[in-house]
Symmetry: C2
Subunit: 430 residues, 2 copies
């Protein structure tokens, strides 16, 4: 362990005081950011992108230190891959910041407008939330993605990355702060927690009044801890148990394409399907070819008795399979008695994330779309469209499965609140 590593590992004397200082600085920066023109924020984002490219060697050196420490800890290959940066990935970080600069600024946009009988003109106008805490795991690029999106939406950010990516994240942060300075904005607009001490997370989650919302980005255990501990409001998704329901009135070819894409396009994302429900009357005509496709593509199938009867390669599903987010080439498959049974299964076992129905019958589709209580419901489309980019939001910071404030993809607009601006001519209330 080198000296820099040792300093980051050292427990802090007073983490609570440190975090409160970060919070106060963020609050002051947020007050400035709330009213800066779009051009200044975009200039900062573009200057940050340039600084990421200029500091590429430094970022890669910091990442090498993180990688060395991670290898010494025998971290699994998947985690090492998420942590690893190279020239291409550093350039992708810079391009991501430029893409955020090119997005429309949500702040100041008037989302509703009306005039009252007494002549008062009322506008509902988007304003930043204030200070956003982001708690994430090993991917160092989140530092730039999350910091950039917060800045675009006029919010100050306090970032707490995974301890494995500590040095990489700090090097990227330096580039972001270069960008802020170059545009004349307060560098405290994006800060990172300067210690790996785990007490910092607890302190961050208690900064009510200084931090307006916390967004965890990572695995279920991180999100569950944040949800359980936080005194600050949280926007999060716990997991993505996404379903495809193939109705008796489904077009077979569309069902095959949608199921294959929902499961196998990328298995590790939250919008990947984990459970397939098929109307019991079309197991032979619809499910049989779908199973053949999936098994051919290397997907493990865990099915109920009716599904097992179709193919000897289907393994038996246990009760917990209906509530497991595999994030892998595994699919649980169940025969159900029509759309209502499918909805009931999803309501009971789903995670309110993303669910899709394949059918030619419009009435059946509308029944599913209105009854399934998930952030995203689709008709004849892949669950893998659960993504801010695919919705046209540009960058996203995550997918919310909660119902308060933001639901579904969380982009720049979802990182704003609103105020009512009322213009009168001396009106008084009778």
């Amino acid at each position: 362990m080198d000296a820099r590593e040792a300093a980051a590992e050292a427990p802090m004397d007073d983490v609570a005081a440190l975090m409160e200082t970060l919070g106060r600085r963020a609050r002051a920066a947020a007050e400035q950011l709330a009213t800066v023109p779009t051009a200044a924020k975009d200039a900062a984002l573009r200057a940050a992108a340039a600084a990421v490219r200029a500091r590429a060697a430094e970022i890669l050196e910091a990442n090498a230190a993180d990688m060395q420490a991670a290898r010494a800890k025998d971290l699994p290959p998947a985690m090492l891959d998420r942590l690893r940066l190279d020239g291409g990935r550093v350039d992708a970080i810079a391009r991501g910041l430029e893409e955020v600069a090119a997005l429309p600024d949500p702040v100041g946009s008037v989302t509703e407008e009306w005039t009252r009988p007494n002549g008062l003109r009322i506008q509902r106008v988007r304003v930043p939330l204030g200070v956003i805490g982001i708690i994430y795991e090993s991917r160092p690029n989140v530092t730039a993605d999350a910091g950039g999106l917060c800045l675009k939406s006029g919010n100050a950010a306090i970032l707490r990355g995974g301890s494995e990516s500590f040095h990489s994240s700090r090097a990227i942060l330096a580039a972001l702060q270069d960008g802020l300075r170059a545009a004349g904005l307060p560098p405290d607009a994006v800060q990172a927690v300067p210690t790996r001490d785990r007490a910092a997370v607890g302190a961050l989650l208690g900064l009510t009044g200084l931090v307006d919302v916390v967004i965890p980005r990572g695995g279920k255990s991180l999100t569950a801890r944040v949800a359980a501990e936080s005194r600050v409001p949280v926007i999060y998704h716990l997991d993505g148990i996404c379903h495809v329901y193939v109705d008796r009135a489904a077009d077979v070819e569309k069902a095959r394409a949608v199921v294959m894409n929902s499961k196998m396009r990328r298995t590790g994302i939250c919008g990947a399907a984990e459970t397939l429900l098929v109307d019991r009357t079309v197991l032979d005509s619809h499910l049989r070819p779908i199973l053949a496709d999936l098994l051919e593509a290397g997907c493990e199938i865990r099915g109920d008795a009716a599904v097992q009867a179709l193919d000897p390669r289907v393994r038996p599903a246990a009760e917990e399979d209906w509530e497991t987010e595999y994030l892998d080439a595994i699919l649980s498959v169940k025969a159900v008695d029509g759309v209502d049974a499918a909805v009931e299964h999803i309501q009971r076992h789903g995670s309110h994330h993303t669910d899709s129905i394949v059918t030619k019958d419009a009435a059946t589709a509308e029944r599913f779309l209105s009854r399934v209580d998930s952030g995203i419901v689709l008709w004849n489309a892949s669950t893998q469209f659960a993504d801010g980019g695919e919705f046209g939001f540009g960058a996203e910071i995550g997918i919310s499965t909660g119902k308060l404030h933001a639901r579904g993809p969380v982009g720049a607009a979802q990182l704003t609140s609103y105020k009512y601006v009322v213009r009168g001519d001396g009106q008084i209330r009778p």
Copy 2:
């Protein structure tokens, strides 16, 4: 203490289990409510209004029992008045339910709609939040107002009224549940906590997963307790430290009218002004007549040195006066150096509720409107317009000073979340 009173006072063996049962019933009712047609909800509201009228004698009898217990406890006259029902007030409760029935149903309305280049049609559709907990104090009418607004927006409600209004609230609840039954809706859509045991509040605040949001309606100590203890997300306002700023470019007559109305129309509401800021250059021309109006109307004035110099009846303001919600005929008054100093004072001492500027200068007004970080900002209008009815929302459940989810008046639309409904033709993600 009669037998009914004694039963309500008895501590419960297992309040947590009781509250969880309430929560489960509410969740089941919410799942039904989410997709019932508008007509059924409106029929329930109208039938509830009829039941309130039919049960008027019973409601008044229950209220008499509450009043007797309250008098025995020597509650202050203002609290007794809030608690007291008579024929007129019972009829107003019924009319309130009919007015909520007549409001537009927010559920199912499409607030945004667009088509992606790949042909996917995306709609953002309002859906109910789910289960809403309402914690309030002595006014029994909140039982009907809050229960009715939750029902209108498709949410199940768990109501916890003040212990003083226990019997009155239960009698009103019986009428609401009559209405639900008459319309074929689950009576568990509106439930009340059946015990006065204070542990019930703590249990309600811990029902994550069963209760989606808690809304406290009452004084600062109630709201602060809820905010500090709740594991369930909270929509609340802590206090209304509302300001009027009279600019150097203000029309004197408009300033007089707006200040008088903001302070004195009703002093006990959260949108009443508590602090007046006046540009130092117009103390003589503008503040002098304003002070004369207020003093004549019986308002006590607490001012800084410059304000005290204008009139011997002005008392000295202490530091805490700038952060006190008097809810009474008292106004703190301060001379400031222009709009920026006014904004700074409001940012430092205000409560992000409602603030108004009086000026003829549009640029100054826009500076104030964009920089003051409050839910409602007004130009040349009384702060007493901070009200859902005055905004055209119909009934409101309160005014939120938080920034997450709802800000400003909270009406039926603010009690909803949204889902994305995506309609395709077999699209898969590349």
